[in-house]
């Protein structure tokens, strides 16, 4: 039976007069990989941040499994540990080694023993291919490695769902592959994920559904085939054409 993990109803975010997005509805089922695409400044990142309550939405509801996390009496810290987040600029804890980055939440949020946390953290680093770099500080790692530590840090909390906010946008082209590879693996292992990205190759290959967002609205959503080959809206077609051309160029250069 298909089971929704995350349900978003009429979610709205405004800053004063400015509406970032309005009445967004989205259902994410267990094991789904949803890719959100769209022009810059259309509220994709803000939308992701609302999903784990890092930004407070002004209206609408979000359910994680059967719990409404937008309800008033919800313990946000409790909710957030079940929603992993990976940031565009990695945002590793720069004073801690890769291992300590992953361990921190295990010790202070999950209250695991030092030994158990250490073992689990090493396991998660190995999972993203960084067992060797456990004792490196973020400043000693490449961007791609830093981002993989970021993924391991989020995964260590055993989240129900992972949110990726343009995880490869800050990376040099030759480092993008290693991060996408980890994400691809996660998706195939059945992790539920929402990914905001401009990597169309990844979207086409991995996404169960692609959501095209523009000007604070979901313009269209569907399978990669539907969106790439039979877009219902002119805007979707235009956007995909432009970005695919860009992506194609990047591939040629690389």
């Amino acid at each position: 039976m298909i089971k929704p993990i995350l349900t978003v109803k009429n979610l709205t975010k405004r800053y004063g007069e400015h509406t970032v997005f309005e009445n967004i509805n989205l259902t994410v089922n267990e094991g789904d990989t949803i890719v959100i695409i769209g022009p810059s400044g259309t509220g994709k990142s803000t939308f992701l941040r609302c999903l784990n309550l890092l930004t407070k939405p002004n209206g609408g509801q979000i359910w994680l499994d059967d719990q409404e996390i937008t309800a008033k009496d919800v313990d946000e810290d409790q909710v957030r540990q079940h929603i992993g987040m990976v940031f565009q600029n990695f945002l590793l804890f720069n004073h801690l080694t890769a291992l300590e980055n992953v361990k921190l939440g295990l010790i202070h949020v999950k209250h695991m023993s030092k030994e158990a946390a250490e073992a689990k953290a090493r396991e998660e680093l190995a999972r993203v291919g960084l067992a060797e770099q456990a004792d490196h500080y973020p400043g000693q790692l490449s961007g791609g490695q830093q981002q993989r530590v970021g993924i391991a840090r989020a995964l260590a909390m055993d989240p129900r769902i992972m949110l990726f906010d343009e995880p490869t946008s800050a990376l040099d082209p030759e480092l993008i592959g290693e991060v996408l590879e980890v994400m691809r693996k996660l998706s195939f292992e059945g992790m539920t994920m929402i990914v905001v990205t401009h990597e169309m190759g990844f979207a086409r290959e991995v996404a169960d559904r692609i959501v095209f967002m523009e000007k604070g609205q979901i313009v269209e959503e569907g399978t990669p085939d539907q969106l790439f080959y039979h877009p219902q809206h002119e805007r979707t077609r235009e956007f995909l054409w432009k970005i695919t051309e860009l992506y194609g160029k990047k591939e040629k250069e690389a």
Binding site: N94, L104, G139
Partner: protein, 225 residues
């Protein structure tokens, strides 16, 4: 060798005074650090009222002479029914004053680390306070260290004003030597050298602390990754 004789005669006295000066510096620095950190956190993360109070405090203590603050505490508080000893008044005035300066050094660093790391900490389920304690402060304190290092050195020299309420610090000893020997130049040069030596040692200690706490890649510039 008049100067050498003076130094010989007052050496014990000067050392005693230097000890008091170091005590004043240490206590003032400690009070100032604890209070300054609280002010910096209040200003950055506090509710609007709390943040305003911190700003007001910082401006008040940076905007008025330390000597006025010292006299208000030592001569003024007794009329409100609170009489403090000379030493206690000196500790308090130096601490309250230093807090304002330290708050500014720390606030700059906390804000530079601030929002992004807060978001990262909260994203794995750490509470706000946990994130401040485990993520933001360890980075902010390191970031602040080079600039903050001015404060202990500046404070060490500033303590000299407390001789005006008859605390027997190095400056008070210098004045005594000057008046008993009628040799102000010799006396004040002698203590100037002692101050200088203390500053050198303190400076070396701070440099050592900076090296000791350094983390690869966590640089003192404020550029985010």
């Amino acid at each position: 060798m008049e100067w050498f004789q003076l130094l010989q005669r007052f050496f014990g006295d000067f050392m005693q005074g230097a000890g008091v000066t170091l005590e004043l510096t240490a206590v003032g620095l400690l009070i100032g650090f604890v209070l300054g950190l609280a002010l910096a956190l209040a200003k950055t993360f506090g509710a609007p009222g709390v943040s305003k109070f911190a700003t007001g405090y910082i401006e008040l203590f940076r905007g008025t002479p330390l000597l006025v603050q010292l006299f208000l505490i030592y001569y003024g508080l007794p009329s409100l029914g609170l009489t403090l000893s000379q030493t206690l008044s000196a500790y308090l005035a130096l601490g309250l004053n230093s807090a304002a300066y330290q708050a500014e050094y720390l606030r700059g660093a906390i804000q530079a680390i601030g929002d992004a790391q807060m978001m990262a900490g909260r994203s794995i389920g750490l509470s706000r306070w946990q994130t401040i304690r485990l993520v933001i402060l360890p980075q902010a304190l390191r970031l602040a260290l080079p600039a903050w290092s001015n404060e202990p050195i500046s404070l060490l020299k500033t303590t000299a004003v407390v001789f005006l309420i008859a605390v027997q610090d190095l400056m008070a000893k210098a004045k005594r030597a000057a008046t008993t020997t009628y040799n102000p130049i010799g006396s004040y040069i002698a203590v100037a050298v002692i101050y200088l030596v203390m500053v050198f040692i303190l400076d070396a200690l701070l440099k050592w602390l900076e090296r000791k706490t350094k983390i690869p890649g966590l640089e003192t510039d404020t550029n985010p990754a």
